[in-house]
Symmetry: C2
Subunit: 299 residues, 2 copies
């Protein structure tokens, strides 16, 4: 049986696919520039991602009563930022991954230099798209706050910083502080910012913003911890090895630093805090269903 | 004796250095993220570049009577975009350059992965800075047009596209069309957009915008052709080789495709057209002096 989350998620996901296809530029080829750049950007952008970040932008905005067109540009930008970061993370000089979502990574298909440019192109396109949204935004001040929140979360004081931390601290003995800094920035920042951007674009009521800021913090951490647990347990299942021994393969994980049981306990605690954060919000169906989904992810 | 251009250029250059230093974030280290990202970004941003693009933004804006603070954010963003593109262009998988402005390139000093991230960080920071300028902009609509012009020129339908063309067409027999597409996009787009952004931020009078659009076209081409000529002639001087033989080392140049004399003639023609384009603008001292400078660059 489909859960409440599945139903809502499917609805938003379909919407997101249409938005991204609709906003992706159609005027590239007439420029005479080589098709390969367009192909490599589109290859990664339309490769069956979960679309979590744009769905968070949209669901938050619509839950709070928003009905403007501008939110589509912000949602699309969030996904383009996420996609560029995956392309660059997969590069030979970074994680050197050959597969992503079961398909060859961008540099395997299009070559190393074109993958760098596809990433650059998508990051830039995220901001072109974001600025296009400003032209149609009804409340330009609110839209600007939302856009700036996403931009800051993507940059040196957010995702890029988190990735730099991950690389810099590779091989060093993990500790709670380092783990927290990497998690909060590398993946947490953009997840939090997607929720907050969806909110700020329609609502600047301090109490709601604060609630959704906290909710975003908790959800971001839940997402990361459950990802870490899944990595460890699925590896253990696949390889038939001792779970914690396997976790040592990537030490900068929650289960390694805190232990598997403590990690699961932490997910439960975060779920409670997240529920409390959004209990005062009227139309909180999606927010609650996302908590349930993340809680059940590792069960 | 200092030329008129030198005096004006020095004035704007000093201004630009102060603007970039002032707007570069100071709140990175307190985040606990590793200092190395900040160091690698700052290394390239403060490495003695010509600052041509921000100077074009500022000089155009001030020449047209602008006096707002917001232009500083746009000028700074233009330089950050230019700097990120140099870092990524120099990467081993791209041009594999070890020296830039007489100093080791970013990846030589900070390593390959950090150089990718320094580029990503600076591109993102360009847009964070651009959005910050929107908060203080007096006329948000004008600022938005200017910002969008820069963004589009930096992306797939501009600089990134031009770089993709350069890579894709490497080794193929150069022709006039390919050369023009690479030039117009790889370097021309951001130079044109810097002039246009400076204009749009203060003035949307159709005649002025059109004049400066054309001026930007001519200046961009003059810049590129004189760069190509300097490459060829300085190589020839240094190496004591035949000029045109040496030009074959990089075939996608103006002197190779059109011949050296025709290239010089083209610079003269462009200079005339550029002068005509801005002759109707009241305060055109900087515009005219830039034409003189470019004309004399290869003499």
């Amino acid at each position: 049986m489909k859960s409440n989350f599945d139903i809502l998620y499917e609805k938003y996901r379909k919407m997101t696919e249409e938005i991204i296809s609709g906003l992706y530029p159609k005027d590239y080829l007439p420029t005479g520039l080589p098709p390969v750049l367009d192909e490599s950007m589109a290859y990664s952008l339309f490769s069956g991602g979960k679309r979590l970040r744009p769905i968070l932008v949209l669901s938050t905005y619509y839950s709070l009563g928003g009905d403007g067109k501008e939110i589509e540009y912000l949602a699309c930008a969030a996904e383009m930022i996420h996609t560029y970061s995956l392309i660059h993370d997969d590069l030979p000089c970074m994680d050197d991954d050959e597969l992503r979502r079961g398909k060859p990574t961008n540099h395997i298909v299009f070559g190393y230099p074109m993958a760098v440019l596809a990433g650059d192109g998508l990051l830039n396109l995220a901001y072109e798209t974001m600025l296009e949204g400003m032209f149609v935004a009804k409340d330009k001040d609110k839209y600007l706050s939302a856009a700036y929140t996403l931009a800051k979360a993507a940059g040196m004081r957010g995702m890029v910083g988190g990735q730099a931390a991950d690389i810099s601290w590779e091989g060093s003995e993990p500790d709670k502080e380092k783990l927290s800094i990497i998690h909060r920035n590398k993946t947490g920042a953009l997840i939090r910012a997607s929720i907050l951007a969806g909110c700020l674009c329609i609502c600047d009521d301090k109490e709601t913003v604060d609630s959704l800021f906290r909710y975003g913090e908790y959800i971001g951490e839940m997402f990361q911890i459950t990802d870490d647990i899944l990595d460890v347990t699925s590896d253990a299942e696949t390889l038939g090895k001792n779970v914690m021994k396997d976790a040592e393969m990537n030490k900068m994980t929650y289960p390694y630093v805190y232990g598997l049981e403590n990690s699961k306990k932490r997910v439960e605690e975060l779920a409670k805090s997240a529920e409390e954060a959004v209990c005062g919000i009227k139309n909180n169906e999606f927010f609650i269903s996302l908590i349930e989904y993340l809680k059940n992810r590792t069960k």
